[in-house]
């Protein structure tokens, strides 16, 4: 089936298999592999993209459902090679380890900040509940989000304590 999708401001027209997922479409049909697949069951959030302004698990959306949709993926987050404030904060705060959950996590944060530009720590925690990260234990991710939104307290920046 032929579909037209706008991804990060660019139009793509592809003939896709009707059973293709949006995740498979992005990765295999379009070649945007920044979005990852972690479980195929909507549990881990690695495949999170923003579709028509809403964060969705792209592994549970059919590509054909996205016909006419506007999508944002991690590839659209950087403008002219410059990291977005969220990306930059993730990099500075070591909110990244293996990096596999990172694209989905950043998309979730982007969606959260669109709805709630200054989320509290608790709102960040609940906001990223749908994204597993097995490496970081989430703490530095939360600090990155608070920093990106200008909310990280000086006392939080101390980090590691030497005894």
């Amino acid at each position: 089936m032929k579909i037209t999708v706008t991804i990060n401001g660019q139009k793509y027209q592809r003939d896709v298999q009707e059973s293709q997922t949006l995740l498979g479409f992005l990765r295999a049909d379009v070649g945007l592999t920044g979005t990852k697949g972690g479980c195929g069951a909507g549990e881990c959030g690695a495949c999170t993209v923003i579709m028509n302004g809403e964060a969705v698990n792209s592994c549970l959306v059919l590509a054909v459902e996205a016909d006419g949709a506007t999508l944002q993926t991690i590839e659209g987050e950087t403008v002219k090679g410059k990291l977005s404030p969220v990306q930059d904060a993730f990099a500075r705060h070591h909110a990244v380890q293996c990096g596999f959950c990172t694209p989905g996590m950043i998309m979730t944060v982007k969606d959260l900040l669109a709805r709630n530009p200054k989320p509290s720590r608790d709102e960040v925690i609940h906001g990223i509940e749908g994204n597993f990260c097995r490496c970081t234990g989430y703490q530095q991710i939360i600090e990155a989000v608070l920093d990106a939104t200008g909310q990280l307290k000086e006392s939080d920046k101390e980090g590691l304590k030497y005894v």
């Binding site: 298999q17 009707e18 059973s19 997922t21 909507g42 964060a55 549970l60 059919l62 054909v64 509940e129």
Partner: protein
């Protein structure tokens, strides 16, 4: 997806019903797809056709009428219900349960109707809807019918729905609108999880209504209790109504214990 199917996106109700009348037994209809596509991927479902209800006009309404009550269309995602001021004001326990359902990403896709049609004993929406005496509107080429939610789910993942039928909407009457209540859910982690056991309770000046999930093959609505009923009376009734099992998520003993614990907490809350 590791199973091939044809995608159908009817653009009119008639088109949908005609299709289902012919191909209903080989078809899975979906709106959010958060259950269907997991099942297809896992080999639990292998339909020849999947039909997207979102393309059918008129199924995405979420509205409230002071007489008819709340109407939740087949394609209304959980997020919309969660954020709806009327739902929060008049049907707070539905909103509470909606917030307990899965994750933000899934709530953006999963629908309230889908959660009911899936008929899982642990579906988050069923207990609160049972408390509010929700009705299910079913339609097919032959017309439509209304079935009480408590009659709709007949067993584990079984409903009265026929292959040629769909649920068009859920109607929540105003009978219990604006009442106090809450929904308590036991999970294995603090993050998103299926309900290991859950209890919903609402109370008016006259009655207390209680429904329980994950403690029997179907969600269980207890008989109405007078407003003066003690927690003990409700627990006594619950004990008779549920039949919890041992599984990987929990033992029947702890399920039964937590049902009573939740009844205690909810009772104290509605009495406060």
């Amino acid at each position: 997806m590791l199973h091939d199917f044809s995608y159908v996106a009817p653009t009119a109700v008639d088109e949908l019903f005609t299709f289902l009348a012919t191909h209903g037994t080989k078809t899975a209809v979906f709106s959010g797809g958060t259950d269907l596509f997991v099942n297809i991927r896992g080999g639990l479902s292998a339909p020849d056709y999947v039909v997207n209800l979102k393309s059918v006009p008129g199924l995405s309404d979420l509205s409230f009428d002071p007489k008819a009550g709340l109407s939740i269309g087949a394609c209304v995602p959980v997020t919309r219900v969660l954020n709806d001021p009327t739902v929060n004001k008049k049907y707070g326990v539905i909103a509470k349960a909606a917030g307990e359902l899965a994750t933000h990403q899934l709530r953006n896709r999963a629908t309230v109707v889908g959660n009911i049609v899936t008929a899982s004993p642990c579906g988050d929406m069923s207990s609160p809807l049972l408390c509010y005496d929700a009705q299910v509107e079913i339609a097919s080429a032959g017309g439509s019918r209304i079935v009480a939610l408590k009659e709709f789910i007949t067993g584990v993942k079984r409903t009265v729905l026929q292959p040629e039928e769909i649920v068009t909407r859920i109607i929540v009457p105003t009978t219990y609108a604006g009442t106090k209540g809450n929904y308590l859910k036991l999970k294995r982690i603090k993050g998103h999880d299926l309900g290991v056991v859950a209890v919903a309770m609402i109370a008016t000046s006259k009655v207390i209504r209680v429904a329980i999930s994950s403690a029997a093959p179907t969600p269980v609505l207890l008989p109405d209790f007078p407003a003066s009923a003690s927690a003990e009376t409700i627990k006594e009734s619950a004990r008779k109504a549920i039949s919890p099992i041992d599984d990987v998520r929990c033992t029947k003993e702890y399920r039964a214990f937590m049902v009573e614990e939740f009844i205690d907490r909810l009772h104290a809350e509605v009495k406060a």
